[in-house]
Symmetry: C2
DNA sequence: AGACAAAAAGACAACGTTGTTTAAATGATT
DNA sequence: AATCATTTAAACAACGTTGTCTTTTTGTCT
């Protein structure tokens, strides 16, 4: 690899002058700058980041630990958001993917710190509590899409309560009056909070809570094909007879569509449907397309990176709003 | 940050001895090793990778350029596969996400080369041709899930022909005799090759090609909600009357399920369905669960990384087989 | 105990940069 | 033309490691 000194020799200047050109130091005369620029091009010189970091004692790298992020598609926007901000400020992102066990997160953090990252974003696949290796306290760390018992970490999570409220208000204000909510497992914080938000909406609009039916369903994953969301949808449609259903997750909505179709109930006309997530291609796959509350992943990624780059010291626990994506299903 | 010399002072040895301990040099007496290990722990010393890389002139980092990878969920297995192999060999992965325009890929490559990566994996979201910045030729580069007119790059792609053959043979051998193939846009290499594979299967089994109906459908994306796959499915079911349908992509299968259900045709009993991709949660979402040809993303990631780490010089263009995931839909 | 080989640890330079100090070139002012 | 201030470039040290060479320590054999 060609070094700064070789460029200097080639250009007939001192190697320090080359360094100045590379770093856009204005105190280089045009004639010398041109010589250097030419030599750089001719020799194909590329600065050595490792050497630069060594000397500067600043890496310009932000670490991103992705806690098994990869399984759920849209979560990836977390990385996209963080990368955008980093890029704009000439910082680099070092993404490490770890599985859920704690050991691996610690190893990842170690790696990152050996690279002298200037901060770490720890992002989770879904909004939940995490247990973090203590090593992370040694470096500015932000939690994204998760929270920790140890409240010393600033965190950014989706505003689940408000999301529940928003979607329920939207339905109520669209004239729906009897709503069923096929919630996720209520051990999940998202499920608890969204439920609360939906209840809030009913209270806000003065609609009696008898008009709201909430039920947790369990739902098929790629591994186990069991799910009771179809059964629940059918039973609720038959017995509770809602005029709208809110699904805790877009995949649940897919199953609801199947069940309702089989019962001769047409989504959008006979039954409003709304959901949470804006999961990849799913909403557009359905007819009518699914109205859903889009998770603010991109914004959370941005927020986390901005927090780090501003070198904030305050420990805050922020929430970001979902976006209601209105399509044809209600 | 604490340095190797501070550890040395603390432990009462020369800094070179600390370096030896850190690098597991066996020529350090146990008593000194213990002293050093203790001091490292006590002071919280962490080796400085940048300095190490500077001196060693070896980064141990492999670059991964993800060509807009993030939009399709399961593609992420490419990174997972690559990371697994890298991890096992004590290498690190530096992942950069780029959008499709060429400029950005060049910038990404530049960044990586400033970090003196030992190789680059350029991976695409879906199997297609890419145009690469020339700078990539300066560094060992492997293409994954894509290919390039410039055949100087080794590449690893899915074996589309064989996948078509496999799924068609599976259906034929399961007794299906009249098959429709809802193909993707035939400008896509995957569509062309899979079609060929399916035809091969019919020839292999001596089933007349009149029993095979192939048609390209266009298909809804999250942006535009148009799709003709529903119309095509209905028409074909009515007119061609196949006993099985192969879908070019799992999302198409979802739409086929809807249409067939509305026609009173039960998947798995009245009509076999198979598909390509094994797209995230989709297959398990359907009832019966969708049998599909899983793309070898993980294996491609592994292959690409292994190719780089073996420092192979031969330029090969390999194909990896899909995996038939048999569920209940045929 | 003395000689010698082997093991262990130290001294010092080097990696490719950037920060700091010093020197040279340039230009303005008298 | 001499003086001085300012701009520009060079010299040199430093960053935190590892490679190489040298010295010291240890252990074995006579």
């Amino acid at each position: 690899m060609v070094t700064i000194k070789q460029v200097a020799t080639h250009a007939g200047v001192s190697f320090k002058t080359v360094s100045r050109v590379v770093n856009n130091d204005p105190t280089v005369k045009k004639i010398n700058r041109d010589k250097v620029v030419n030599s750089i091009k001719e020799l194909g010189y590329r600065p050595n980041r490792a050497a630069s970091i060594t000397r500067r004692k600043k890496s310009g790298i932000i670490g991103f630990i992705a806690d098994d992020l990869l399984k759920v598609p849209y979560t990836f926007d977390l990385i996209r958001g963080a990368q955008k901000v980093a890029w704009e400020q000439n910082k680099e992102l070092m993404v490490l993917n770890v599985t859920e066990d704690r050991y691996s997160a610690e190893l990842a953090a170690q790696h990152l710190m050996e690279h002298r990252v200037e901060g770490i974003i720890y992002a989770a696949m879904y909004h939940h509590e995490v247990i973090l290796p203590e090593i992370l306290l040694e470096c500015p760390t932000v939690l994204a899409n998760c929270y920790c018992q140890n409240t010393q970490y600033p965190s950014i999570v989706p505003d689940e309560v408000k999301a529940g409220e928003t979607v329920a208000l939207a339905l109520l204000d669209a004239g729906y009056r009897k709503i069923a909510f096929l919630n996720l497992n209520e051990q999940i914080i998202a499920a608890q909070d969204r439920k609360q938000g939906i209840i809030n909406a009913f209270i806000l609009r003065g609609v009696p809570l008898e008009n709201l039916h909430i039920e947790s369903v369990f739902h098929g994953s790629p591994d186990k094909e069991v799910s009771n969301s179809r059964e629940a949808t059918a039973r609720i449609a038959r017995e509770f007879k809602p005029d709208a259903i809110i699904c805790g997750q877009d995949p649940i909505a897919v199953e609801a569509y199947f069940v309702l179709q089989s019962m001769g109930i047409q989504v959008g006309r006979d039954m409003g449907i709304a959901s949470f997530d804006d999961w990849d291609t799913i909403p557009a796959l359905l007819q009518p397309a699914l109205s859903t509350m889009a998770l603010p992943h991109f914004d959370m990624g941005k927020w986390a990176m901005e927090y780090l780059l501003e070198e904030r010291q305050d420990i805050v626990h922020e929430k970001l709003p979902f976006t209601l994506v209105k399509r044809g299903s209600y």
